[in-house]
């Protein structure tokens, strides 16, 4: 076993605060949508809106960080070893087979992870951000000249994206336990240090 410093301080801060905000927005968002009654509609709306603005600011910093540090390259997808990763999750993981991907400081996401994050970045996020932005500024549609939009469709796609995000969160949390021990990845995300086989 070898310990390497994978996740830098800002990255960890970004990850966990983003996780908290996304879970908050899922909980309040589905209440605003009408799925259940938990905080009350008014509190759910204000909390959702506040969390959205917090996430906007967090992302401003995160984008800045990714570009100044060059970490954005971590998200460039690859098709290399994708099939091997699938095979590992479907069989190898049960029999303690060696992990097909070797984590390094320069490449901290496995190929499947890269694809998943790319999907989040390229599909879920644009959908949720764009629809969310129009949802938030519903009263300015006329002033923006976009009053051909229909809130029903905007809300529909916002909820579609929310469901995708919910599924991503479920898979993401589970795969967080798929390290060489169930808590290994989670510890790494907290301390920054990942233990890898050499």
């Amino acid at each position: 076993m070898k310990r390497i410093y994978i996740f830098k301080r800002f990255e960890r801060f970004w990850h966990w605060s983003q996780a908290a905000l996304i879970i908050t927005m899922l909980v309040t968002g589905f209440e605003v949508h009408g799925s259940y009654d938990l905080l009350g509609f008014k509190t759910a709306v204000t909390t959702h809106t506040t969390a959205a603005w917090s996430l906007v600011w967090l992302w401003v910093f995160a984008i800045f960080w990714h570009f100044t540090t060059g970490e954005w390259k971590q998200y460039i997808p690859t098709t290399d070893k994708v099939a091997a990763m699938f095979r590992y999750y479907l069989t190898g993981i049960f029999t303690d087979a060696p992990h097909p991907f070797k984590q390094t400081r320069l490449s901290k996401h496995n190929p499947l992870q890269k694809l998943a994050y790319l999907f989040v970045l390229a599909v879920i996020n644009p959908l949720i951000w764009i629809t969310g932005w129009f949802y938030l500024f519903y009263n300015d549609w006329a002033a923006w000249g976009v009053d051909f939009l229909n809130l029903e469709y905007v809300a529909f796609f916002h909820v579609v994206a929310a469901f995708m995000m919910l599924i991503f969160v479920i898979a993401h949390i589970y795969l967080g336990t798929a390290g060489h021990t169930p808590t290994a990845h989670i510890k790494a995300m907290i301390t920054g240090w990942e233990e890898t086989e050499d």
């Binding site: 209440e31 605003v32 949508h33 009408g34 799925s35 009654d37 009350g40 509609f41 008014k42 709306v45 204000t46 809106t49 506040t50 999750y89 993981i93 049960f94 029999t95 303690d96 519903y138 009263n139 229909n150 809130l151 029903e152 809300a155 529909f156 909820v159 579609v160 929310a162 469901f163 919910l166 599924i167 479920i170 898979a171 589970y174 336990t177 798929a178």
Partner: protein
């Protein structure tokens, strides 16, 4: 650890008990207060306007020579008024309070009490001697009334401050000048109206004078509108923040600004939306001063948090009244909700008129009128409304297989000039002349042989009524279901009592039938939800199975 199931259940119930008792403990303090209030609060006090309000006028009418005489009748009083107020009668002549006519400029429909048929007492024509108790004039008993007569204008009915002036049904707009039994057959007698005192104490209009007619629309207190009844004479704050007798104490005229006896505000051509902001004094133009916006402006909720901004931005879809009048008929009077004329005319075995009362004391059946229902604290119905109201008038063809809409509020979700408004919708069954294909007009009251209230004979009453409309009764009539609506705009509740977000933004909320607009929180994409939750659940099950296998395999080594 092994706890017997029964013990757990008991423990659970005890926790339940504790919670329940803490709930009741929260409620409890209100109780003694309720009892105290109930025992000390006086019965409804009818404040005599003279004593309660000191006149601020520069003229003491009791010092006027013209008024120091014993008037024989109303027109004599008016004649005296006109010696100083020379133009007043002519001003009144041009108002709908006098003409009972209104030409809707948008629809060109000829409206007004004289022309429309409602689903209460239905029609003025052929019943003027009774209906004209609420006419600002004297002597309107049939279609020969002289609408150019100045002395027949009734000044006092609006300017009385004594509360002693009453025009009684059947006297063609006159008060009683002789001793008269009232209500009929009650054994109670009204003294002749003291016109001299009343004339000497005239003053500004008040909630009491406007209310003398407008609180009693439809034939009784609170009956027609629901948001106007005698509890607004001296209302408490809970009932209306503006009219609150111990608070702002608005008179009707405070909002219904009047000029040259023309009173602003209309139910025939209401202002459903005004986006121009507060109305400044001296502002030229034809804007209606009787709107919420005219005083409160376009952003009535003081800016601050995002939640408050959201309230202000709701004004592009929702009329102020929708949130701020959460229910109408909130005073101690129930309003009439339905009127079924088709059951009228049933008599007891001896052939006498029957009257039945409901649990709340209101008449729910009367041989003269049929079946009624009443309700207090009524949740309004809601409609898209752009200010245009279309009426079904006499002679208009109607589809008798469907509910006939006596008036229909125009507007839609897509129309930027429409807002969601609260309305009272009154439903009933009323006569329809089959041969003439029109809503029926029938002769209701009068000493003659044809009045329905005298002989309970529909054909005779219809024949007379239709003739008064200039049409020969076809001889065949049926009862059709009708609906008529009024915007709810009075009885504005204190702001704490305005609707909360989730009274609309929830499943089966207040606006569930409004249509045409997407409302978050109403759970309105069931298909998507079903698919979404199924997918999320499958993901969850998938990872649990995957994890389970991992756990099992690791245990097995």
């Amino acid at each position: 650890m092994n706890i017997p199931a029964k013990k757990i259940y008991r423990g659970l119930l005890l926790i339940g008990c504790f919670l329940a008792s803490s709930v009741s403990a929260n409620v409890a303090p209100a109780e003694p207060a309720a009892a105290a209030a109930a025992s000390t609060a006086p019965a409804v006090v009818m404040v005599e306007e003279t004593e309660a309000r000191k006149s601020t006028s520069t003229a003491d009418h009791s010092k006027f020579e013209e008024l120091k005489k014993n008037f024989k009748n109303g027109p004599e009083v008016t004649k005296a008024c006109l010696t100083c107020h020379t133009e007043a009668a002519q001003q009144v002549h041009s108002t709908k309070h006098w003409t009972w006519e209104f030409l809707n400029p948008a629809t060109k429909q000829k409206l007004g009490k004289k022309n429309i048929i409602n689903n209460f007492c239905t029609s003025v024509t052929s019943n003027q001697t009774f209906c004209s108790a609420c006419h600002v004039g004297y002597g309107w008993s049939d279609d020969k009334f002289d609408f150019t007569s100045e002395n027949n204008v009734d000044c006092v009915v609006c300017h009385d401050t004594t509360g002693k002036y009453k025009k009684l049904p059947g006297l063609s707009g006159h008060p009683n000048y002789e001793v008269m039994e009232w209500p009929p057959h009650s054994g109670k007698f009204r003294e002749p109206t003291d016109l001299k005192t009343i004339a000497q104490k005239v003053g500004k209009t008040s909630r009491a004078t406007c209310g003398a007619c407008h609180f009693y629309g439809g034939g009784g207190d609170a009956v027609k509108h629901g948001d106007l009844d005698s509890s607004l004479k001296e209302p408490q704050k809970y009932l209306d923040v503006h009219m609150d007798a111990k608070g702002l104490d608005f008179s009707c005229g405070k909002c219904h600004l009047s000029d040259s006896h023309e009173v602003s505000g209309s139910r025939y051509a209401p202002t459903a939306v005004d986006d121009n902001g507060a109305l400044m004094r001296g502002d030229k133009g034809d804007r209606n001063p009787t709107t919420c916006v005219a005083c409160h402006g376009k952003a009535p909720h003081p800016p601050g948090t995002a939640a408050v901004e959201k309230l202000n931005s709701h004004t592009d879809k929702i009329a102020c009244q929708t949130c701020h009048i959460p229910a109408y008929a909130r005073g101690n009077k129930a309003t009439k909700m339905t009127w079924d004329w088709s059951t009228a005319g049933k008599l007891d075995e001896e052939g006498h008129r029957i009257q039945k009362r409901g649990s709340d004391g209101n008449v729910i059946y009367d041989s003269k009128k049929g079946d009624f229902t009443f309700e207090r604290y009524v949740i309004p119905e809601y409609v898209w409304f752009n200010g245009e109201v279309k009426f079904t008038l006499f002679g208009d063809k109607v589809d008798t297989n469907n509910v006939v809409k006596i008036n229909e509020f125009q507007g839609s979700a897509g129309d930027p000039d429409s807002r969601i408004w609260p309305v009272k919708t009154f439903r009933g069954k009323q006569p329809y002349d089959v041969g003439n294909e029109t809503l029926g007009v029938f002769h209701t009251a009068g000493g003659d042989d044809s009045a329905f209230w005298g002989n309970y004979d529909w054909d005779k009453a219809m024949a007379w009524g239709m003739k008064a409309m200039g049409v020969e009764y076809s001889g065949e009539m049926v009862f059709v279901e009708t609906e008529m609506s009024w915007p709810i705009t009075h009885m504005v509740a204190p702001k704490e009592d305005a609707l909360k977000c989730d009274q609309c933004h929830r499943e089966n909320g207040r606006l569930q039938n409004i249509g045409g607009v997407y409302m978050p929180g109403t759970n309105n994409t069931p298909m998507l939800d079903w698919l979404g939750y199924a997918a999320a659940l499958m993901a969850l099950i998938g990872v649990l199975i995957h994890g389970g296998i991992r756990y099992y395999m690791s245990k097995r080594g």
